[in-house]
Amino acid sequence: MNRINKKLQEDKKLLSIYFTAGYPSLTDTVTIIQNLEKSGVDMIEIGLPFSDPLADGPTIQASSTQALKNGMTTEVLFNQLKDIRKTVSIPLIIMGYFNPMLQYGVEAFCKKCQEIGIDGLIIPDLPVDVYNETYKATFEKYGLINIFLITPQTSVERIRFIDSISNGFIYMVSSASVTGSQSGFGDEQTSYFKRIADMNLKNPQVIGFGISDNTTFTQATQYAKGAIIGSAFIKHLSTKPVSSINDFVNFIVK
């Protein structure tokens, strides 16, 4: 069974952390992953940096620009991760934009992910219908779970469709926004969380965008299986050493 599915079966609320590979320095990737696992994080999204990250706010954009300046590429990332499964056992997901994958070759990319032990992919600009018609078979051939996003504006019909072609979890974007632009959840968001929870989808939901501390993590996981933190963690890394990751995680889950 895929590590993501196994993790989703655990009787706990999951904390997933996103970071940009190659930031703050090029060679931090493996250490960050190891420290996150040691700190008790349940799942990791490894961001493959892109020059034009449309769905990301200033924090992740800046980290992507820096990572690219540092020399991060698809090839470099795969090399850094080649022995990762010797030391890390939690689910690992690569999150990136579609063009770098397209240039690497979608099949070659998926094959490499399987060799390394990557469990899933999140590709914000790969549309659901294109995935379904063109790439689903390839992803499945290499045992990769593709994770789709939904937003407060996504129609019920479309959510049902996304649920039907998903086999891991659904990434619930907390509000209409790019990453890192929210602080705290209001009534509108909690009613959206509740509305989705009440749909009884076959895939569990994990909420992302706007989770930055213990309060928002607790609020989100009241309605969902887990929550994803990205920008807040990148901000932490921008000022604190990689060795202090434990402090960040403790601050979130307390």
């Binding site: 892109f50 449309l54 954009q61 590429t73 240039q103 914000p124 294109v130 790019v178």
Partner: protein
């Protein structure tokens, strides 16, 4: 061969809508409604009326006698430079502002490079009394001060794009992010024939008035609707798309697309996407774009701010791939020389973008009987500083 968009939003293998889910409702709303709205008699009436009374259409099709004599062929200039705001851009912004109103949108966003599309958007927002936010790269703001002032005078808010290379592609990213953050009340007026479907098709249709007019105007001049060649410069490719549109399926009309070679196609400082680009995804569509081997989008260069876009509209990528259009690349120097030549021979100061299209006559020999229609997409007032510095005037 079909050169128009198919029902799935593709031109051959190019196009589509590679957008984050956050944008899906906005783009889908537009996709479902744009053709319906454009077909409404009340929409057509309002659009045509504004093009006539406000933009000043039809723009003349002018027989450039002295230029024709020099190159021993028959050259006609489609005078988009005479439009209100000085370029073809306003054809599209008029269409899109009417679209936005019918969709019930109250807030307009746009991206701009040199500021021409920003000015055209700010203009129609003032005309309709809608809030207007224009994203512009920090570097472009510094080098295009007069257009920034124009936008402000017209009531728009100009927001600097501070990310990435701080030019047009980053301004486009920022506009897209704004749209993600404001999905309900906002319409994004994209300025070129780029972006996710239906934008390339919608922009092309609004610009197609250019070739619609060329047809009847040429009939008056030459007794035939079809020239031997239609020529236009290409950045994203909106003036080109409009110039070609009604000739795409006329096999006796040859299409020439002129890209900016910058300092030279192989110099590392160029915007010749058809030569240097490779299939990929930029700003929501699959097309030819300039990128690293690793799929990171690179920064193009041209002296002309309107042509230095790292991609090309998906329709043009298809025209290139199928060989329907001949692509030519013109350097900064060749364009500047052609621009000055038009001033001296015809008394018209062209935009540097349009000067690229004019420069092909030094490279390609046409027959004396050939009728060549060139889209003079914009006027050169905005480029005065560039001309002054280049020619040390």
């Amino acid at each position: 061969m079909n050169y128009n968009v198919n029902e799935k939003g593709y031109y051959g293998e190019f196009g589509g809508a590679y957008i984050p889910e956050m944008l899906y409702p906005n783009v889908e709303e537009l996709r479902q409604n744009y053709l319906k709205i454009m077909a409404e008699p009340s929409f057509k009436k309002e659009f045509d009326q504004l093009l006539k009374d406000y933009v000043g259409r039809p723009s003349p099709l002018y027989f450039a006698k002295r230029l024709s004599e020099k190159y021993n062929t028959k050259i006609y200039l489609k005078r988009e430079d005479l439009n209100h705001t000085g370029a073809h851009k306003i054809n599209n912004t008029i269409g899109q502002i009417l679209m936005a109103k019918r969709l019930g949108k109250t807030r307009i966003i746009a991206e701009t490079g040199a500021g021409q599309h920003g000015v055209a958007t700010a203009t129609v927002c003032a005309l309709m009394g809608l809030e207007c936010i224009v994203y512009m790269g920090e570097i472009d703001i510094a080098r295009q001060a007069p257009n920034v002032a124009r936008m402000k005078m017209l009531g728009a808010t100009v927001v600097p794009a501070l990310s990435g290379s701080r030019t047009l592609k980053d301004a486009t990213n920022e506009a897209i992010r704004d749209w993600i953050n404001n999905p309900v009340n906002t319409h994004y007026i994209i300025g070129s024939a780029i972006g996710p479907h239906p934008y390339p098709d919608m922009v092309t249709r609004f610009q197609s008035v250019i070739s619609e007019e060329i047809k009847w105007q040429l009939k008056e001049h030459e007794g035939t609707e079809n020239p031997n060649y239609v020529v236009a410069c290409i950045g994203g490719g909106s003036n080109a798309a409009g110039t070609y549109y009604h000739y795409l399926h006329e096999p006796d009309v040859k299409i020439i697309a002129v890209e900016a070679a910058g300092l030279g196609v192989d110099s590392g400082e160029s915007a010749a996407t058809s030569v240097l680009g490779k299939e990929g995804i930029i700003h929501g569509c699959k097309t030819l774009l300039m990128q690293t081997k690793d799929g990171q989008i690179t920064e193009p260069y041209s002296i002309s701010a309107g042509l230095d876009y790292p991609g090309v509209g998906p329709m043009h990528a298809h025209l290139c791939k199928t060989g329907r259009a001949e692509f030519m690349a013109i350097t900064d120097d060749e364009a500047m020389k052609a621009g000055l030549e038009l001033c001296k021979l015809e008394g018209i100061i062209p935009a540097i973008e349009s000067s690229h299209a004019l420069a092909i006559f030094e490279q390609k020999i046409f027959k004396p009987t050939d009728v060549v229609v060139v889209s003079l997409s914009g006027r050169g007032d905005k480029d005065l500083q560039n001309y002054i510095e280049y020619f040390k005037i």
